[in-house]
Symmetry: C2
Subunit: 461 residues, 2 copies
């Protein structure tokens, strides 16, 4: 696959052409909502008050849930950062968009990134006249051709990869804070990041209140190392991890307040979720998956089931709890349906529009979920059943052993959300149905090369 | 201690005399609220939607939380049934009221029960003119002198001990449903118990709406064996356990609806909680403690920290989350303060009034919690720290081993609610403070004989 900027630009033009051919409504429609996606980093299923955490106080997110919809069975698309983000942005599994690898995420010395042939939510929304802003951690490639501003965002303000990725012996550069393609500050002062992200989002909302806008606010935290501003440090009963989550809670509150003050609440969908489960090996600096098994990095529920809240006063029913299956993969088709943005039809998507759930007009169109690690399918959920073909935990020595299961382990996630009681022996017919689903899925795949395992062809300037 | 009915009656008269001497306001006051305590059996910390359970749908309890106060750090007074109930009813630890034993609860062949010298919430409220009803599982003695109607309740409708206590080889009688002192039905049809309990509570509220009333509704479930009515059986995604909890949720909803319909919402405090943590060894028929360690029967958090909701529209702030320490031991002093009921001053209490928390006028008066098993103090919480002098889990072979710790294990429950990271080595001064608290506590004790280990002196007629 070509690696120069020119070939990427050509691919981008091609994708744009495909979309325009399929677009019959590219004008801005005042009825189409603004979209704000708030994507936290390593926040666990059990880390919010409204998901049962006893000592992290999240009054703003609890109120967001009370005024909107709380999902109990919402998944990130992968248990680690880069592939999870790539899937959210494209509505496609990492195995389709190339953002998988034995190096499980991008590093400062990685040459790869999200290909221009991929259409992000931002680029799709540009086609229908949206203003687009990316704030926070990108982690889909830090070279110019992969940055947010090369993927449909008018503006970018944030860090290009994880906040722990400044490893001296690897020769990493100081962690930069970027504005568009420019380094503003390096190393970035992380203690004020949440405040600065919040200010950027708030001022953008005020500035664009008469336009249609899309904001992708990808929080740097609670990924370690943890930093809270002086207003929050030392305030939470949960210690520094709680301070950081409580500052994120404050940030979300400021954003919802701004939308209300600007009269935009009823025309803005705000979706809050996390990129994967809690990083348990970080001990007290990692979060909690609540009653779910395991955490970040693995395909048990704790690795990929995440908190998710939808807020859109007047459309999303206040105080609703949604127990259906949904995923970050579904955000792109949801936003496309809401805004009239057309997606290229020359590729497979893994998402399903959540519009019927959000509007209360029908059930989820999703009945399954695939759980990948690298390019291997580890587990599959179909309805309430989940089959584990391969398991590999992340927390505790024995748990980290990779085990292949034939027949797969089978859990009923309704009866047994903590994945404790293997019921495979008594349910061969369910396993057959899941096997068939896997066959159909695998037949649909034509995996591109890994972007994460790419080696630098020549030193970057 | 005397065992005949006559000596119990004499003690009761004595206690009443003591109370009357101290009572300066025994008339009913219209400003004093009705009190409804709903006490579930073996419901775990993680088993309600508002505490993060993904597949048990509890819309009524979630709404109760949204309209009232949700406690994150509320404890039952013991990790098993009988002593937990005795403590709630008397505001005194089992080590003080005699309801402890090597037999950890009462059985159908137990001769003992709650002594007449103890003053229950019901008897205290009779002194200030309340009508009193006990519905459900009593488990504080099933012989006549120990039944609810001998302990201050005008009426009783329920089962006298746990719903699994009909063991043929032990010669147990069929499980009875009782009305006052009379067996109505034996064995009781458990499938309709929740419905019948609910009907009884609802009709009592309607009947007594012009009086002041106290209802103690001690649910039989979700203690095993699990039974749901045909309206609920097979309906929950969580299986039979979920069916049963969802029927309890319905029951609570009916009670709150009735209070609203009768215009009593603003003059009734409804308090919902559980007698101990989930019975984990029952596997899928037991509940979940969420992120807390262990369950029923042990002194880790999962054994004794329980869901707790307070509802009193107009007084308890809607949607509030209370992170302070509180306990079922606090219900008696709370109710006494709210109603003007006076308590005998010739004994020690272990409760603290929660009125400041409920009314939003001040913090919890409780800064510690004792965790007993039988007559041994296993653990102590002081502020956010918890010291384990003895540990003995309930779930898993290795966990069941009794271990004594010197120095005690120490956990910071704020930072580490799952009790994973022992910090005793670095905190000798905190351990000293807890040691002193233990010494002061133990100096205040004068334990009466165990009622649970009493042997029958002669066959009961």
């Amino acid at each position: 696959m070509g690696d120069s900027i020119i070939s990427h630009v050509m691919l981008a033009l091609l994708a744009t052409t495909v979309m325009q051919q399929q677009t019959d409504n590219s004008a801005t429609n005042q009825d189409e909502p603004n979209v704000v996606i708030i994507f936290t980093d390593d926040l666990g299923y059990g880390d919010l008050g409204c998901y049962g955490h006893p000592t992290i106080a999240t009054p703003n997110l609890d109120q967001m849930a009370a005024q909107g919809m709380k999902f109990t069975d919402f998944y990130s698309a992968c248990s680690v950062c880069t592939p999870s983000r790539a899937a959210l942005m494209t509505g496609r599994l990492p195995i389709r968009n190339g953002m998988w690898g034995n190096r499980r995420v991008l590093f400062p010395n990685s040459p790869g990134g999200l290909q221009q042939s991929e259409v992000t939510i931002a680029r799709a929304l540009k086609q229908v006249g949206y203003e687009t802003l990316c704030v926070g951690k990108w982690h889909l490639g830090h070279h110019p051709e992969y940055l947010p501003t090369s993927h449909g965002f008018d503006q970018y303000f944030g860090i290009p990869y994880s906040n722990d990725m400044e490893v001296e012996k690897r020769g990493d550069p100081p962690l930069p804070l970027m504005e568009n393609e420019t380094v503003l500050e390096a190393p970035v002062d992380q203690t004020t990041l949440t405040k600065r992200y919040t200010e950027k989002v708030v001022s953008y909302i005020k500035e664009k209140k008469d336009d249609s806008f899309f904001i992708y606010y990808a929080q740097t935290f609670p990924h370690v190392p943890l930093y809270a501003s002086k207003d929050f440090k030392g305030k939470s009963r949960r210690g520094l991890y709680g301070d950081v989550v409580e500052e994120i809670d404050w940030s979300v509150g400021k954003i919802l307040d701004t939308l209300r003050q600007e009269g935009l609440a009823e025309k803005t969908l705000v979706f809050f979720t996390s990129d994967n489960g809690p990083w348990l090996i970080k001990m007290l600096e990692g979060g909690s998956a609540g009653l779910l098994r395991e955490g970040k990095g693995c395909t048990y529920e704790g690795g990929m089931r995440v908190p998710a809240l939808a807020w859109w006063p007047g459309t999303v029913k206040a105080g609703s709890v949604n127990h259906e299956l949904a995923s970050t993969l579904d955000l792109l088709p949801t936003v496309a349906e809401l805004t009239g943005a057309k997606l290229p039809q020359d590729r497979s998507y893994d998402g399903f529009s959540m519009v019927p759930m959000l509007e209360g007009t029908g059930p989820s169109k999703r009945d399954h979920m695939f759980f990948y690690r690298r390019n291997e399918l580890y587990a599959v959920r179909l309805g309430d059943h989940k089959a584990h073909y391969i398991t590999q935990g992340a927390y505790g020595k024995t748990a980290r052993k990779l085990e292949r299961h034939d027949p797969p382990q089978l859990y009923h996630l309704g009866h047994d959300p903590s994945e404790q009681h293997d019921i495979s022996a008594k349910n061969p017919e369910i396993l057959s149905r899941i096997d068939q689903l896997v066959k159909d899925h695998q037949a649909s795949l034509d995996p591109p090369p890994s972007q994460l395992d790419r080696k630098a062809e020549k030193p970057k300037s």
